[in-house]
């Protein structure tokens, strides 16, 4: 069954990036509804009922996060939209902002109203400079039409919305690093507590939400939280944008009902269209580079033999032993020719490069892992190196200020867990591993590859 399109329904309408067309298609009606007939409390209640979970990666319930926001008298509060989108494999927020920027602006207005924020920011990665220009134009249009600025729609509610560009740093996607960066500093994550809901931007109560989370609020208010909760499966309510890349026929951004079987997502022509070039599936990273990699057989089925679904729970089924995570929805597909050792080395180099350097386990640990992986990838490693690698990643996880340390450890741990033989093959075949991949021949013996 085709998934519902709550976010992307009008994405292909010519001119939908302009205010006029967006408005003709019913745009900004949630602002009218919210400001004329709802209170901040009833909006928070609707979002709670919807079961909407944060789409930035952690999946924390949005309504609950909103209800934690401190409201001390006389202290301004802020809503920050996290448009830093730097998790390898993820490009959905960019797609949404580029194609239908007013949806995000509309979401920012109703969400800011719900939180009592009068100045809100969209923090966007500096590399998306041209997207920031699209957003700025959309904001100017919304303002010219009375949806931003003073006394919006005569409701007495004021809101200014600004776009802030970053300077190129993955870590600024972490919410407290984002706040530091918005204060004009290095993106060093803060210790929690205090949480941003109590002391965030300029020590004021702050909510940080992902682009897609904020955009989803629009549909929830136009319809209802209950209607939203009817879509999806269990605690994975609503739809999710998935950025699909790698060795598939149709790369791109897809909106799916949560709970869609992974088989259908990967192989049906409506979505990824199956593997490219007649190759066989080797592995999938279902939720961005930070989440555990799954070999083909564990991707299609959980350890219990149930069909795996695109939902928070099903992708995580089996814990890290046999499962992974939905994460940011950065769905990366590897065919039989992909080298897992090389990919692990590549991801580790990424985390080492992006570590802010504040905590030793992350700063030093990612550097050590990189060195060991470099040896293994280049045919200079030993079997003990594989054990050493395992040991280092274990000492990073859980021992750092922010979750980047975990995010660096998990890809390494899962690669060794599921593909140890491929690491050993690199050790035993130092020359051969520089010429070709383990995947071409050897893996067919060890793994049951699924076409």
């Amino acid at each position: 069954m085709a998934s519902k399109k709550l976010l992307l329904e009008h994405i292909d309408v010519p001119g939908i990036n302009t205010y006029d067309v967006y408005r003709q298609k019913g745009g900004y009606s949630s602002v009218e509804k919210a400001l004329k007939s709802m209170t901040p409390e009833t909006i928070v209640e609707e979002v709670k009922k919807s079961g909407l979970r944060g789409r930035g990666g952690a999946g924390f319930p949005a309504g609950m996060k909103w209800s934690f926001l401190a409201k001390p008298d006389g202290v301004p509060r802020h809503l920050l939209c996290n448009a830093d989108e730097s998790e390898p494999g993820t490009f959905k927020d960019r797609y949404l902002m580029e194609k239908i920027p007013h949806l995000l602006i509309e979401g920012m207005i109703v969400s800011s109203f719900a939180l009592g924020a009068n100045v809100s920011y969209i923090y966007i990665r500096g590399e998306y400079m041209w997207v920031s220009f699209i957003l700025e134009r959309a904001i100017a249009e919304a303002k010219a039409n009375g949806f931003l600025g003073k006394n919006i729609l005569g409701s007495g509610y004021d809101l200014e919305l600004y776009v802030q560009v970053g300077g190129g740093a993955y870590i600024c996607g972490e919410e407290t690093a984002l706040i530091e960066s918005l204060e004009g500093k290095r993106g060093n994550p803060r210790m929690k507590p205090p949480f941003p809901a109590v002391k965030g931007l300029w020590q004021r109560p702050t909510v940080v939400n992902n682009v897609e989370t904020i955009a989803a609020v629009v549909w929830i208010l136009n319809n209802s939280g209950d209607d939203y909760a009817k879509i999806g499966v269990g605690k994975s309510t609503g739809t999710k944008l998935i950025s699909a890349s790698g060795n598939i026929k149709r790369q791109g951004v897809y909106e799916i009902d949560l709970g869609l079987p992974v088989d259908e997502f990967l192989n049906s022509d409506e979505y990824c269209g199956g593997m490219a070039n007649g190759k066989r599936l080797k592995a999938v990273v279902p939720g961005g580079s930070s989440v555990p990699i799954l070999p083909a057989e564990l991707f299609y089925k959980t350890a219990n033999g149930d069909a795996r679904l695109m939902s928070y729970e099903s992708l995580a089924d089996g814990g890290f032993a046999t499962g992974s995570m939905l994460g940011s929805g950065g769905f990366v597909v590897y065919d039989e020719d992909a080298c897992i050792v090389r990919n692990t080395w590549n991801f580790t180099r990424f985390y080492n490069h992006e570590s802010c350097g504040q905590c030793s386990p992350c700063r030093e640990g990612t550097g050590w892992m990189l060195k060991v992986l470099h040896k293994l990838e280049h045919g200079q490693g030993s079997i003990q190196d594989i054990d050493l690698l395992w040991d280092i990643q274990r000492r990073i996880e859980g021992n750092t200020i922010c979750p980047l340390g975990d995010a660096a450890a998990w890809p390494v741990a899962s690669a060794i867990r599921h593909f140890r033989e491929e690491f050993e093959w690199h050790v035993k075949n130092p020359k051969l591993c520089m010429e070709r991949n383990y995947g071409l021949l050897e893996s067919t013996k060890k793994f049951e590859l699924v076409s």
Partner: protein, 176 residues
């Protein structure tokens, strides 16, 4: 992680003070924040400053930015050395920043990088002998589904092929 600053290349090149329209923009950006929080303007202003200085930030330019925002120079250096988009040494007329992260590699990023190196006559991290191109590799730019890709100034060039790279380089050379 942060990159170090090479003091040997800190000669002045920018036209200080910046032109009035840039100064107006700096003032406009500061209105986005509450009173006393003008330091928040630092990242956006550094982008503007870099554009005024042939694509990189020299020490005098950073000192000037500090004055504009009424903060200390060290606060500017701290930030400029942390973020990957700020260049701390001179760059070529065009900076080609090719993504080298995993998902792009699945679709030929490494080959594209090698091809560009060959075509412009320098390695990653270097500037071509004719000072036309600086080649950098960068981490995931949010274009994994459109790989291989590179960033050129404020825009992305995606689905790179050898022909596309040839055309791009020829276009840029003819514009220069």
């Amino acid at each position: 992680m942060s990159h170090s600053y090479d003091i040997r290349v800190s000669n002045v090149t920018a036209k200080i003070p910046f032109p009035q329209e840039v100064l107006d923009k700096v003032i406009e950006i500061q209105t986005h924040y509450p009173e006393g929080k003008q330091k928040s303007a630092l990242l956006p202003v550094l982008h503007l400053a870099q554009k005024q200085n042939e694509g990189w930030l020299s020490i005098p330019v950073m000192e000037y930015v500090a004055q504009l925002l009424n903060i200390t120079a060290i606060e500017v250096f701290e930030v400029a050395t942390f973020y990957s988009m700020y260049n701390l040494k001179p760059v070529g007329k065009y900076v080609l920043e090719v993504c080298r992260t995993g998902p792009c590699c699945l679709n030929g990023a490494e080959k594209a990088i090698e091809y560009i190196e060959k075509k412009i006559g320098c390695k990653v991290g270097e500037t071509s002998p004719d000072k036309m191109f600086t080649l950098k590799t960068v981490e995931c730019l949010g274009a994994c589904g459109y790989a291989p890709m590179l960033q050129l100034g404020d825009s992305f060039v995606e689905f790179l092929t050898e022909e596309k790279i040839d055309t791009l380089l020829a276009d840029l050379r003819s514009k220069a």
